[in-house]
Symmetry: C2
C-alpha cells in the first residue's frame, strides 16, 4: 500500500473540517475537490468533468457546477472569475468562507494566495458610502516566478 500524497491529505483534511461544521462531504464533492487538489492549478468546470470521466467517475456539468458552488461557499475552493476557472483553497479554507487575494499564473495555471490584509483599505469607503458588500473578489492574472524564470532562461 502506497502512502497518500499531499493532495490526498489536503482533501482529507478539508473533508473532515467541513464535516465538523455540519455540512455533508459527499462522494462527488470529495471527488471534485480531489481533482482540484491533485491538479494543483486552475481548472475550468468542463476540465473537471473530463478529469472525473478519466477517473471513471463521470458526472454531468450541472452536477459538477452544483458541487463547485458548494465548495466555494464553504471556502474549500475559489473561483477565478477572470478565467472562469476553479482551484482548491490552499490557505485557510478549512476555517470557512473567506476573501482571498488570488495570484493566478496565465502560463501554468498555478494559483497562490496573497496573505495580505485587504479588508481594511476597502472598508473605509464602503462604510462612508453605505455600500454593503456581500462578496468580494480580488485577483491578479499574471506570471508566476517559476514561469518568469523559464522565460528568461
Amino acid at each position: 500500500m502506497t502512502e497518500p500524497c499531499s493532495a490526498c491529505l489536503s482533501t482529507e483534511a478539508a473533508s473532515q473540517a467541513i464535516s465538523k461544521r455540519g455540512a455533508r462531504m459527499t462522494g462527488l464533492r470529495r471527488d471534485v475537490l480531489s481533482v482540484l487538489h491533485h491538479q494543483g492549478r486552475a481548472l475550468g468546470a468542463y476540465e473537471i468533468v473530463e478529469q472525473l470521466e478519466d477517473d471513471g467517475k463521470s458526472s454531468a456539468p450541472a452536477a459538477v457546477y452544483r458541487v463547485l458552488d458548494f465548495l466555494v461557499e464553504n471556502g474549500l475552493a475559489h473561483k477565478i472569475e477572470g478565467l472562469s476557472a476553479y482551484c482548491a483553497c490552499t490557505g485557510s479554507g478549512v476555517d470557512g468562507p473567506h476573501t482571498s487575494v488570488l495570484l493566478v499564473c496565465l502560463d501554468c495555471g498555478a494559483v497562490a494566495e496573497n496573505p495580505c490584509k485587504i479588508d481594511a483599505p476597502l472598508g473605509g469607503f464602503n462604510a462612508q458610502s453605505g455600500f454593503k458588500p456581500l462578496s468580494t473578489t480580488v485577483e491578479s492574472l499574471g506570471v508566476c516566478a517559476a514561469c518568469l524564470a523559464q522565460t528568461n532562461a
Copy 2:
C-alpha cells in the same frame, strides 16, 4: 435643439481623451460607450447588443465584444467579472487604463468606484514572491445605499 445630457457629455469627453491618446474613436465604439453611459449601470454584452438594436444601430455580438475589449483596454469601461457585465468608467478613465475597485449593486446594477489605494497592500507580497501581475481585478458585489434604504423602508 435640446441640451446634451450628462451621459452624452461623458461620452464626448471620453471620446476626445481617447483621440488625443492616438487611438481611434469610431462610430461603433462611441455608440457602445454611449449606451453604457446612458444606462449608468452594469450591462451584459448581449444587453448592449439589444440596446443598439433598439437604437437602430444593430451590431452582432462579435463586433460588440471587440469594442468592449477596446474600451476596457483604454480605461473607458470596466468589466465586472463577477457578473460578466460591463459599465462605463466614471472615474479616471479619461487618463488611461487603471485598476479600479468596483462596488456593484446586485439590485439596481449601479457601479461605484471606490477611490481607495489598493496597490500598496497588494504589492508587498508580489514583490517578495516574484509574481508579476498583468491585470488586477478588485470588485465587491453587494447592495448600494439607495437600495438598502428602499429595502428597509
